[in-house]
């Protein structure tokens, strides 16, 4: 109950931000909501199934590319929806072979896949004679902020619902022991694939919004592996065992990076690494796990 109230207060504050703050702070808020949406989505796959994706930027990048190609051809809402669907479909397609490997192999595979996609897009853009694209007439930041707010809320709700569903129970079972799960009737192949595709859906939409914010598309910059690393770090620091974790992780990191970029930019990556080590060693359940929690009922 207190959790629901806190969540409602947060949502209200986020919704009110553009009315009370200037463009700079709305930009920071946009970045925060972006990482909430990405990290919540990521936990649906990696938190629930234990298949850790180190290449989630691929869905973000794909969504951005879809948006750039369609900008001016379709209305904004349709572009965001199509970007999400493209990422969903792509994940469903590559998931079937990718999810056959587990543990570190899956981690490396997802990372490699994101890099591969980046270079494929670079080559395709080269053929088309485009080395970067500028977007004209992009929506203003407030519009983008509210879309991102919707995406962050949707991702948080999705995490919440999946955790409580029969589907979520099946995912937890296969995370704990895949062979035992399928032997008690969990359709592991289908469930993993659906989790993967669901975890890609909103990141695709997020990519489309962010490229419109940047008004500029350059594949190497959009398919930036640091986005994938940041998602994983936020999930580790915040915790990925419930929907609180990504909220805490994203908030903590965005605030930290605001402070550091302004005062000691060279320290940012150093601190990122240090925090990751400290949390993995001393608080594997993340910030969320450190809170005085009620009994965990997975």
């Amino acid at each position: 109950m207190r959790g629901a109230l806190a969540l409602a207060a947060l949502a209200l504050a986020a919704a009110a931000l553009p009315a009370v703050a200037g463009d700079y702070h709305v930009g920071v808020g946009l970045g925060l909501l972006m990482y909430v949406a990405l990290t919540q989505s990521w936990t649906v796959l990696s938190g629930m199934t234990g298949y850790v994706s180190l290449g989630h930027v691929v869905f973000y990048g794909l969504g951005a590319y879809v948006a750039v190609l369609l900008w001016g051809e379709a209305p904004l809402a349709a572009i965001v929806a199509l970007a999400a669907l493209a990422a969903f479909a792509f994940a469903a397609l590559i998931g079937l072979p990718a999810l056959r490997v587990r543990g570190p192999y899956f981690v490396i595979l997802t990372f490699g896949l994101a890099e591969l996609a980046k270079y494929v897009v670079i080559v395709v853009e080269g053929w088309l004679g485009k080395f970067s694209r500028v977007i004209f007439g992009a929506p203003d930041i407030e519009t983008l902020y509210y879309i991102m707010f919707g995406l962050a809320a949707a991702a948080t709700l999705m995490t919440f619902l999946v955790r409580r569903s029969r589907f979520g129970r099946g995912l937890l079972a296969l995370r704990e022991n895949e062979e035992a799960a399928e032997t008690v009737g969990v359709p592991t192949v289908r469930f993993k694939l659906l989790a993967y595709a669901l975890s890609a859906l909103i990141p695709g939409a997020v990519g489309s919004v962010m490229v419109l914010r940047q008004t500029y598309f350059e594949p190497a910059q959009i398919f930036d592996p640091v986005v994938s690393f940041t998602i994983v770090t936020m999930a580790v620091v915040g915790g990925s065992e419930d929907m609180k974790g990504p909220l805490l992780g994203a908030a903590g990191f965005v605030l930290l990076s605001e402070l550091l970029w302004a005062n000691a930019p060279q320290l940012y990556m150093v601190l990122l690494g240090l925090l990751l080590i400290v949390f993995v060693l001393f608080a594997p359940q993340g910030l969320s796990g450190l809170l005085p929690a009620r009994r965990r009922t997975p």
């Binding site: 029969r166 937890l172 079972a173 062979e179 799960a181 399928e182 009737g185 359709p187 009922t297």
Partner: protein
């Protein structure tokens, strides 16, 4: 009525022939024991029936349906449940959730989480784990995890229960308890049971019929008394009589 029929089932791992030409039937309501030294292919046989491994040849028919090529979760829903000799609990879930998951996804397909939990608690009471329902499965002792394996298999609601050495590593008192549980599952729940056991006395007491495997081949099949007197079985277990 024949519930399970194996015909010329074989399994090849690369150049190794783990099972060759295995045929036998299990009638509904029977308890059939599987006996054999380590490496005889007993667990592989379970894996083939449950779909964890694909047979290299032969047919397995359960309740009139051919199982070859079906994935494990489909076979489970048709009504075959197995335990693992090396226990595989969902360690990070509670004992109750372990069993409720089986009730949700297995042949029973519990209609709601509440129904699954109710079923889970009933089965946990049967195996004597009711007090541990709220604890994480990884905190159970080996004996507890063996009983959890059994509870999870039973909760799927399958008609054929395959028990893979559920008594190995237990104390004599625990073995006696487990024997009683298996008997009740047979009598009160009407389950058909296929059981692998090294605890010979247990197998002799429980099984109406025993199949003996040796190096992947079936060397004998019959009632416990006949198996106990079979010279081929003696040869395999104790070496040839002088």
């Amino acid at each position: 009525m024949t519930l399970l029929a194996l015909r010329a089932v074989s399994k090849q791992f690369g150049g190794l022939r783990a099972l060759s030409d295995i045929s036998f039937d299990v009638a509904a309501g029977e308890i059939v024991g599987i006996m054999g030294a380590n490496g005889a292919g007993k667990t592989t046989l379970f894996s083939l029936i449950a779909g964890n491994e694909r047979p290299s040849g032969g047919t397995i028919v359960f309740d009139g349906r051919a199982l070859a090529g079906l994935p494990p979760h489909r076979i489970c829903r048709l009504g075959i449940a197995r335990t693992f000799q090396i226990v595989r609990p969902f360690g990070g879930l509670t004992v109750e959730d372990n069993v409720a998951t089986a009730a949700m996804f297995g042949a029973a397909q519990a209609a709601s989480p509440a129904a699954a939990a109710e079923r889970a608690l009933a089965v946990l009471a049967l195996v004597g784990l009711a007090e541990r329902a709220g604890d994480l499965a990884e905190t159970l002792t080996l004996s507890g995890q063996k009983r959890l394996e059994l509870a999870r298999a039973v909760a799927t609601g399958g008609r054929l229960l395959m028990l893979d050495e559920v008594m190995a590593g237990l104390t004599p008192a625990e073995v006696a308890t487990m024997l009683e549980i298996v008997r009740r599952l047979h009598r009160e729940y009407g389950l058909t049971i296929l059981i692998i056991e090294h605890v010979m006395r247990a197998l002799m007491q429980l099984a109406g019929r025993i199949v003996v495997l040796h190096h992947g081949e079936k060397i004998a099949e019959g009632p416990p008394a006949a198996i106990g007197a079979d010279p081929r079985v003696h040869e395999v277990y104790f070496g040839a009589a002088a």
